[in-house]
């Protein structure tokens, strides 16, 4: 009896909504600095959900999500930079001897265009690479290594074309967004609220996607891609779609990141951050949606906290975390709970079996 009431009040949906509301209310509790950090973590969480759709559900490990994140971030940053210069030439272009705004920067004068491209551009690149590789049945570790090569290409290009991208310094020093000062506390709070809402939306839509038949197909592809072919599915289409989707989500996260952090540079999109992104998902628990969110927030909070107190030890800790999670917690934190659940469930079942026996 008690159980059912408990279940009704604390249904998963209700709790998720409460978490969402609590996040929305965070500006009431947190200082500007902490709120800004939390906002950054939540932007990472958005990316982690997309990465988990790809890895946790579909079984495709990409070590190149940094560039999709980066593409989104750069699109937004280009708009912000042009806002800051008032349509003039950004400083680094002047040093590189340019006299006119290059063609590819021109569309980014318009914020709407920048936002659309920030999602579209990563999606297009992911689609092209995904379509080719998945159609050619390059999968598993080969795809993973290819995705790393892609990072290397893009990062080298970004660093190399200094006159277009600001080179290794990246883009920073922004003023306004839609006319609001990006650095003021109110705007930052607004960015935070937007991030929470986007996170909620991405979470909700992803949940809808994976809870239905579509999600089962993804799991099927993860566990037996070839078998799925003989059930009449074309796994490459599904993989390409999810890869594209998760790249678009990464782009979205990148835009929110730039708004809150105020800088994007190639170091943020390289090989090391790309692997760290995978760790968020692994630690939180792949194949669940709440897992990557927890993982992203937890790892980054630990990184901030740890490197504040013990900068030298942080690398040891990070390395150890990878090893321990993979070996002992392959399902991450959520997996830990599932295990604990199962054990208790088994106890419940065994006791109920005994009851039945005594009746008969």
């Amino acid at each position: 009896m008690q159980n059912t009431i408990y279940q009704k009040i604390w249904s998963q949906r209700v709790i998720l909504n409460l978490i969402f509301l609590l996040l929305l209310a965070a500006p009431l509790f947190l200082s500007d600095f902490r709120l800004n950090l939390l906002g950054k973590f939540l932007a990472f969480a958005i990316l982690a959900i997309g990465l988990d759709l790809l890895w946790g559900y579909t079984g495709v490990l990409s070590l190149g999500h940094g560039i999709f994140f980066g593409l989104g971030a750069y699109c937004m940053a280009m708009y912000l930079k042009l806002e800051a210069t008032g349509g003039g030439l950004p400083d680094f272009m002047a040093w590189s001897g340019m006299s006119e705004l290059p063609l590819i920067w021109i569309p980014f004068q318009y914020p709407i265009v920048a936002i659309i491209l920030g999602i579209l551009l990563p999606a297009i690149i992911a689609f092209m690479l995904g379509y080719l590789t998945f159609r050619n049945r390059i999968s598993g570790v080969y795809f993973t290594i290819l995705s790393q090569a892609l990072v290397l290409v893009v990062v080298t290009l970004f660093v190399g074309s200094q006159n277009l991208t600001g080179g290794s310094s990246g883009l920073t020093n922004f003023n306004t967004f839609f006319g609001f000062s990006v650095n003021s506390a109110t705007t930052q709070t607004a960015f935070y609220i937007i991030t929470v809402i986007v996170l909620g939306l991405v979470f909700f839509l992803s949940r809808k996607l994976v809870k239905g038949r579509f999600g089962k197909i993804l799991v099927g592809i993860r566990d037996g891609e070839n078998r799925m072919r003989f059930l009449g599915y074309s796994p490459s289409a599904y993989k390409t779609f999810i890869y594209t989707l998760s790249a678009a989500i990464a782009g979205l996260a990148g835009m929110l990141f730039v708004l809150q952090v105020g800088i994007i540079s190639p170091t943020m999109i390289g090989i090391i951050p790309s692997i760290e992104m995978v760790l968020w998902v692994a630690l939180g628990g792949r194949g669940t949606l709440i897992g990557p969110v927890i993982g992203a927030v937890l790892v980054n909070a630990a990184k901030t906290g740890f490197s504040e107190s013990y900068p030298d030890i942080w690398t040891y800790f990070l390395g150890l975390l990878f090893v321990l999670v993979v070996v002992f917690l392959p399902k991450g934190i959520t997996g830990l709970f599932e295990k604990w659940n199962d054990r208790r469930k088994k106890q419940d079942v065994s006791s109920s079996v005994e009851v039945e026996k005594s009746y008969s």
């Binding site: 408990y6 279940q7 249904s11 998963q12 709790i15 409460l18 978490i19 609590l22 965070a26 509790f29 947190l30 200082s31 902490r34 800004n36 950090l37 950054k40 003039g88 030439l89 400083d91 680094f92 002047a94 040093w95 001897g97 006299s99 080298t156 660093v159 190399g160 200094q162 080179g167 290794s168 310094s169 990246g170 920073t172 020093n173 922004f174 650095n183 952090v261 105020g262 800088i263 994007i264 540079s265 170091t267 090391i272 951050p273 709440i290 927890i294 901030t304 490197s307 504040e308 900068p311 030298d312 942080w314 690398t315 959520t334 709970f337 599932e338 604990w340 659940n341 208790r344 469930k345």
Partner: protein, 428 residues
């Protein structure tokens, strides 16, 4: 089902308690002791950044991990040495300095985040930090937004003068311009420019091109390699083809090791061609190997061998603190005297308030290991002596030439006609 919900419930609970805890912590931090408040009120009305009771907090923000840790760790050590010395001599304004150390992790957004943290959370009086231009550019909007201070210790490409940054490294006219002049006079007039592909080499080389053009010298080639590039055979082949008198080297970090080793292997020694480097100091020579780079030139404001009494003391103290094998170098020295310059400005101002310190800092002089350094009030750079040196077989650099007196910093190269195009395009 029920217990899975419990998991979500747990997250909810943790999140809620985290927020309450944070807000409580913030409140505690903001609510100052009523007595102290009263004292503060009598002393002065405006806030006294970083000054908390008996100590003054100062931020140290360098990369302690990642690729840049190689260079930045020593600068951090020098800054900590200066802080220690100041504290031993009674501190600043009678208060001890309390360094708050953060790791920029060779990642520019992290520099921005940590600078934010230092200014907002720790409320430090100033930050000493940065190495790459990228890290400085990442911190710039943060220190400007929160009206903080940053002491930046490395030579850089110029074209910047933020009111919130003090630049204790060399501006281009204190390193690159005089080096080119000297080379033209002493080593020949065909130049090959080689650099890593990022903002400093590109901007520096743009200036060199204009300067060479003005002097009627010949530019025979210009190559950029990605950061961390390790195979220089092809570049060396190109250099051989062009056979320049001088290679002006703005390579960064590890690439220098690969370049010099492979240059020597290719049979090119300092007798055949002069390589002048602007990013290779004593520290880097240790990693390259002195035998490989011996005889090549560098341009800096300071060498470990610089002959001043202040330097003798500095080197001795540094080696006592960090070991016999530790070497000092230009950025290390710039980090070191940056702390002293700030301390002097604070004493002058009588407060750590940023606006007053900035005002007091104008024209302040300090006897640094490299000689007298003076803050130029116009651009917050520092007057420094320029030195051309030659690498010796023991890894030390011996001075070949130095300017007679400290050179006025000119980050925008306003004083040079040939650079007018460069600075004009910037003025827009």
């Amino acid at each position: 089902m029920r217990k899975q919900n419990f998991f979500y419930l747990l997250i909810l609970g943790l999140l809620a308690s985290f927020m309450v805890a944070c807000s409580a912590a913030d409140n505690a931090a903001n609510a100052t002791d009523p007595e102290e408040e009263a004292v503060d009120a009598t002393e002065e009305s405006d806030s006294n950044e970083g000054s908390d009771g008996d100590t003054i907090k100062v931020g140290i923000l360098h990369s302690l991990s990642g690729t840049m840790a190689i260079s930045e760790t020593s600068v951090q050590q020098a800054e900590l040495l200066a802080i220690k010395e100041i504290n031993e001599n009674g501190g600043v304004l009678g208060k001890q300095l309390e360094p708050v150390i953060e790791d920029g992790a060779s990642d520019w957004p992290t520099f921005a985040e940590k600078a934010n943290k230092l200014l907002q959370q720790d409320e430090v009086a100033t930050i000493f930090g940065g190495w790459t231009s990228a890290s400085r550019k990442a911190m710039l909007p943060v220190v400007e937004e929160h009206n903080g201070l940053l002491f930046y210790p490395v030579q850089y490409e110029g074209m910047e003068a933020s009111p919130n940054i003090f630049y204790t490294g060399a501006a281009p006219n204190q390193q690159i311009v005089p080096a080119v002049d000297w080379l033209l006079e002493n080593r020949g007039d065909s130049f090959f420019l080689l650099g890593s592909d990022y903002v400093f080499p590109r901007t520096a080389n743009a200036a060199i091109r204009a300067q060479l053009d003005n002097e009627g010298a010949e530019l025979v080639g210009e190559e950029y390699t990605p950061l961390g590039h390790t195979d220089y055979n092809t570049v060396i082949a190109k250099i051989k083809n062009e056979n320049p008198d001088v290679i002006f080297n703005t390579l960064n970090g590890d690439s220098n090791v690969a370049f010099f080793k492979q240059l020597k292997d290719a049979g090119i020694s300092s007798d055949d061609m002069t390589v002048l480097s602007v990013s290779v100091a004593e520290e880097e020579i240790k990693g390259i190997g002195a035998d490989v780079i011996e005889g090549h030139l560098t341009s800096w404001n300071y060498y470990q061998t610089t002959d001043t009494p202040e330097n003798e003391e500095f080197v001795a103290n540094y080696q006592e603190e960090y070991g016999e094998d530790a070497v000092t170098a230009d950025p290390i020295e710039a980090g070191y005297f940056g702390v002293y310059l700030w301390a002097q400005a604070v004493e002058e101002a009588g407060t750590t308030n940023v606006d007053e310190v900035r005002e007091a800092a104008k024209g302040i002089s300090y006897e640094a290991p490299n000689g007298t350094v003076t803050i130029d009030g116009d651009n917050q750079h520092v007057y420094k002596t320029v030195r051309i040196g030659e690498v010796q077989s023991d890894g030390m650099i011996s001075e070949l030439w130095q300017t007679e007196e400290p050179v006025k910093p000119d980050p925008y190269l306003d004083e040079y006609d040939w650079a007018s195009d460069l600075s004009e395009s910037l003025a827009e």
